[in-house]
């Protein structure tokens, strides 16, 4: 199964994770 999050954010938004990385619930994905 897969989940997809699609969202609008200011252009300054940056991800703090990389493709291929394992993540867990509650782990930060990105911030402004």
């Amino acid at each position: 199964s897969t989940v997809v999050v699609l969202f609008e954010a200011p252009k300054a938004f940056t991800f703090s994770v990389q493709p291929g990385q394992r993540v867990r619930v509650g782990e930060g994905l990105g911030s402004l």
């Binding site: 199964s1 897969t2 989940v3 997809v4 699609l6 969202f7 609008e8 994770v17 394992r22 994905l29």
Partner: protein, 325 residues
């Protein structure tokens, strides 16, 4: 056997067998290595191959799989069966709310096990947190109305979310003015509420051993639930890299609404073994139901209920789960 004259054709010849199998294995490894070295995405499946795959009764198989896994196991059998599953998929039972394997009546129940409250701390520094345990398949900025599901393989944003007028009225009204100004606004532009913003996406793949509940990735308000009926093809990264627009073909539940920066959506995409999606605050939702026709969608607008201004979700709050079958 070796001394019989008529058995010459059947005589066991280890050397040719070893050379043939070894050669084939070596060739396969070289092929895989070359693919990795190129860094190029794997070749896409042809439309015929995709059609053939879609013609398999994946929904029926999924429901049958769910039925099998809903059968209550005798207590003595639970530990060996779940232990095999744990060993195969690398499940960490130490973080499960109930570690005693005999507690779970069937594999379906084991699959949707809960975690200890302290097992998943919430990152306080990020406005966006992971909604699920899994692996990031793709992420980034969405610069057009085509989104990458994995590197080099795209899908249409409009096919994935459905027509724009299905969004809640507030988001639609906010974006309408922008669309008018832009004159030739694309689907992506129509979703944005401010020209100073961009659209971003992140795709997380949940492997069979992962915790299969999903949580809210942010503080936001859900205005619309859209249930797309569809196929239940595998969504493993290998298949996602070969089947274009896989996420638009599969059964899925898309929740959309808004957060403090504008448009926000969360979509749970089903797969063959995990065909059912449950949303805790939506009792009407029925996924992977017999009789559903592929390629349709059904809406439920939470924002239109007079007593509610949509469903408010907090960052990290449990939203729903995937179920076997």
């Amino acid at each position: 056997f070796f001394n019989s004259g008529r058995g010459s054709l059947l005589r066991y010849r280890p050397l040719p067998v070893l050379v043939a199998t070894g050669g084939a294995y070596y060739g396969y490894q070289q092929y895989k290595r070359r693919d990795r070295a190129d860094g190029a995405p794997p070749a896409l499946a042809t439309p015929t191959q995709v059609s053939l795959y879609r013609s398999f009764p994946t929904r029926l198989l999924s429901r049958a799989w769910g039925r099998v896994n809903g059968v209550e196991l005798p207590t003595w059998l639970r530990k060996p069966v779940y232990s095999l599953y744990i060993w195969t998929f690398g499940v960490n039972m130490q973080e499960a709310a109930v570690e005693d394997l005999r507690h779970y009546r069937n594999l379906g129940e084991f699959f949707r096990r809960r975690l200890k409250a302290s097992a998943r701390p919430l990152c306080s520094a990020s406005c966006l947190v992971s909604p699920a345990d899994g692996r990031i398949v793709h992420l980034g900025r969405v610069s057009s109305s085509e989104v990458e599901q994995v590197k080099g393989v795209t899908y249409s944003l409009e096919d994935f979310l459905g027509p724009q007028d299905g969004r809640d009225k507030v988001t639609a009204a906010l974006s309408a003015s922008l669309s008018t100004r832009a004159e030739a606004a694309s689907f992506r532009d129509g979703l944005l509420t401010s020209p100073d913003n961009d659209l971003f996406h992140v795709v997380v793949y949940l492997a069979p051993g992962d915790y299969h509940c999903f949580h809210s990735p942010a503080d936001w308000t859900v205005a619309l639930r859209r249930h797309f009926t569809g196929s239940l093809l595998s969504v493993s990264p290998g298949v996602a890299g070969r089947v274009k627009a896989l996420f638009c073909l599969n059964e899925r539940v898309a929740l959309s609404g808004r957060w403090r920066h504008g448009f926000f959506s969360f979509t749970a995409v089903g797969a063959t073994n995990v065909g059912s999606i449950r949303i805790y605050f939506d009792r009407e939702l029925r996924t992977n139901a017999p009789g559903d026709t592929k390629g349709h969608f059904h809406d439920l607008r939470y924002g239109e209920e007079p007593a509610k201004g949509g469903v408010a979700l907090q960052r990290g709050e449990a939203v729903g789960e995937f179920n076997l079958g």
